[in-house]
């Protein structure tokens, strides 16, 4: 337990792996495909490798995939040369056998106690960075976890939240017990939400500045560099993997950086460190120059943003009960976001 300074908790599907569970076909394919056929979200493996290499880092993976997939998923991590310290999978087969069908989709009743349990295994001083996606309720669950640890959500409120999320009674009791046992601290710095479905970032404003929607792991790497987790060389290595493995160009990376500037998450000065790192690593620059683009094009894109954005307040009080009352339980969010096409009979409409 000693020596752990920072915990990086990762979700798996749509955060680390590109998984299609929006259709039955995709779901079946994800369940049966071999480790070598599984595809990463661009740059996720490179970023996880960089994080694992940090001194005092603990990488924990928590996934809603069934426990029966452990061997395949561990094989996938091995192929990606990614090491982890903890790997939690959902007991979905057991849920099925016990007729707990609600639990198959439930995120709060599964992830929150698993996160709290994981927290009991690390020292109080260890800070945390969490990685999730926009497909389900990661922003909600991770924020709730952070606020329970910080003592901002008390037992009565948590009990009401679990009730509104339709969490099974035994899971709710376990969660409440773990929350009561947790040592109060405020370790969660950032919650990265990978926008796999391109959900507009404004939808996450209700969770405050701690939740950072990102479109790719270059953006996450830049922000981790700004936060002091690692240096610009790590960002350059991730950029190189994005370029060589996933076809990213300097322009797409520049646009990604500019997006951070526009959202007030990075400053123009932050690019100078990157510039030095990119230039120091000649191979990176060469890899990023497939069409004769030069690094100046990268910088040029950044010079055209007007002024400096004000950052969102770091820790806004989140009204979880209001979110649940207005949006319903998290299990239903994915379907609501997808929306329905209205049938129009009027040929002139």
């Amino acid at each position: 337990m000693g020596g752990i300074r920072h915990v990086y908790r990762w979700d798996l599907d749509k955060t680390y792996l590109r998984t299609d569970f929006d259709s039955w076909r995709g779901l079946l394919r994800a369940a049966w495909e071999k480790a070598s056929a599984k595809v990463n979200v661009a740059g996720s493996a490179a970023l996880m490798r960089e994080l694992k290499a940090l001194e005092g880092a603990r990488v924990c993976v928590i996934s809603g995939s069934p426990r029966q997939m452990r061997r395949t998923l561990e094989e996938k991590f091995r192929l990606d040369r990614v090491a982890f310290d903890e790997f939690t999978l959902k007991p979905n087969f057991e849920n099925l056998l016990r007729g707990r069908f609600r639990a198959l989709r439930d995120q709060v009743g599964y992830k929150l106690p698993a996160l709290l349990e994981g927290r009991s295994r690390v020292p109080d001083a260890a800070n945390e960075t969490l990685f999730g996606d926009d497909a389900e309720a990661d922003a909600f669950v991770y924020s709730l976890y952070a606020d329970v640890l910080a003592g901002r959500v008390g037992p009565a409120e948590l009990e009401e939240i679990l009730r509104l999320c339709s969490v099974y009674e035994d899971d709710a009791q376990r969660t409440l017990r773990l929350a009561a046992e947790a040592r109060h601290c405020d370790p969660v710095g950032r919650i990265f939400i990978h926008l796999d479905g391109y959900t507009p970032p404004a939808r996450f404003a209700q969770y405050g500045a701690r939740v950072v929607p990102i479109y790719n792991y270059f953006q996450a790497a830049v922000l981790l560099m700004i936060d002091g987790h690692f240096g610009p060389m790590a960002v350059a290595r991730i950029a190189a993997e994005l370029s060589q493995g996933y076809g990213y160009s300097l322009i797409s990376l520049a646009n990604s950086f500019q997006d951070l500037l526009r959202r007030g998450l990075a400053r123009r000065e932050d690019v100078s460190a990157l510039r030095l790192a990119f230039e120091a690593q000649a191979a990176v620059i060469d890899a990023l120059r497939p069409a004769g683009e030069v690094f100046e094009a990268f910088l040029e894109r950044l010079a055209v943003v007007a002024g400096v954005r004000e950052r969102l307040p770091e820790k806004v009080p989140i009204d979880y009960l209001e979110i649940l009352r207005t949006q319903g339980p998290p299990g239903t969010w994915r379907h609501k976001r997808r929306g329905r096409t209205r049938r129009v009979d009027d040929p002139f409409a």
Binding site: G197, Y198, T199, P200, P201, A202, Y215, N216, Y248, S249, I251, S252, A254, N255, S256, Q258, D259, R262, R263, P290, A291, E300, R301, V304, V305, A306, G307, R309, D345, D346, P347, F348
Partner: protein, 347 residues
């Protein structure tokens, strides 16, 4: 080959920047284009946070000023050198972007392009070309429309200008409609060679002698919707009046049909049975489907979208721009200009 980069004037148009941003956001998700939104960056950024988009494909270029639809082009451009249309035109001229799309003030767009871009050799004045749905299909792609130019870049046109428009329109139709030999006609008040203004009569004489284009003579207004010609050449004043009138007629016909649809149950039932056909007709006559009109004559691709453009029209205008870039339209026009009209006009 790298993806085309399209500079979009985010502040131009009746529904800018909201609809422009929406159109570009959709393009970023559905195409491989690189897009540059030029305009009020804080406002554009705020809008982008509220729509689904892929920021890897979108750059924003701040331009602190904008020219309104009702402003006088020359005065507005002189007073606002950092207007979004002027900045966007300069970005295209400097090679930062390959093409320009704007739904803003037409006059300001043409003047900004004239300031920043170069006219092709032999072209004295740029022309705005528009497509109009016709009964006949055109080219290998069987496009259901013909090209009409000029529809408003200038007011009057000399015989020289009309010949140039004919060559530019022919080159455009060859590439975009994949029509190896587009039929080119002059719009006049009669089919006889001596009918029309002095400029039209002179242009007719020169076009008849011109090698390299298939000139079929004069046509009348009635021949435009029939699709007698693939390329209809006229001056900007007449072209603009014709275009707006044809648009108005199409909208009025749809309004009348809508009225009938609501008026009686029997009519509604009949029209519902014809629903598929009506939707198809609506699609063919809907200018939003065509996206935008090319401004021909510059050394770069410029697409002018309708001032009332919404998301769909912006989306299509950018796709037209990308297609024109891929087909190297300015180079094709320049090639044809060198081949034929200069020789015919004796220059």
């Amino acid at each position: 080959m790298p993806n085309a980069t399209i500079a979009v004037d985010a502040m131009g148009g009746d529904f800018a920047p909201e609809e422009t941003v929406k159109g570009v956001a959709r393009l970023s998700l559905e195409t491989q284009l690189d897009l540059l939104l030029v305009g009020d960056e804080p406002r554009i950024s705020e809008l982008l946070t509220r729509v689904r988009h892929n920021p890897e494909r979108i750059g924003v270029w701040h331009a602190p000023e904008a020219i309104g639809m009702g402003e006088k082009p020359a005065e507005a451009l002189a007073g606002k050198p950092e207007a979004s249309i002027a900045v966007a035109a300069r970005l295209v001229a400097d090679g930062v972007a390959d093409a320009l799309v704007t739904a803003g003030n037409t006059g300001a767009a043409i003047l900004a392009c004239a300031d920043a871009l170069r006219l092709l050799p032999g072209v004295r004045r740029a022309a705005l070309a528009a497509v109009f749905p016709t009964a006949l299909r055109h080219g290998l792609k069987e496009d259901p429309f013909s090209l009409v130019l000029d529809v408003g870049a200038g007011l009057e046109a000399t015989a020289d200008d009309l010949v140039t428009y004919a060559v530019m329109g022919s080159a455009y139709a060859r590439v975009i409609s994949r029509n190896p030999r587009p039929r080119v006609a002059l719009l006049s008040n009669g089919t006889e060679a001596e009918k029309g203004t002095a400029a039209i009569v002179e242009a007719h004489r020169r076009l008849a002698e011109l090698q390299g284009i298939d000139f079929i003579g004069n046509i009348e207004g009635i021949d435009i919707p029939r699709g007698t010609a693939d390329v209809v050449v006229t001056g900007g004043f007449v072209g603009n009046v014709v275009l707006k009138m044809l648009e108005g007629v199409a909208e009025t016909v749809m309004e009348l049909a809508r009225f009938a649809y609501k008026e009686r149950l029997a009519w509604r039932m009949g029209l519902t049975m014809l629903g598929g056909g009506i939707r198809q007709l609506k699609k063919v006559t809907d200018w939003e489907q065509y996206g935008g009109a090319p401004i021909l004559g510059f050394d770069k691709v410029v697409i002018k979208a309708h001032g009332r453009s919404k998301e769909q029209a912006i989306f299509n205008a950018c796709k037209v721009a990308a297609k024109a870039v891929a087909a190297s339209i300015p180079a094709s026009i320049a090639g044809l200009m060198v081949e034929s009209p200069l020789r015919a006009s004796g220059e």
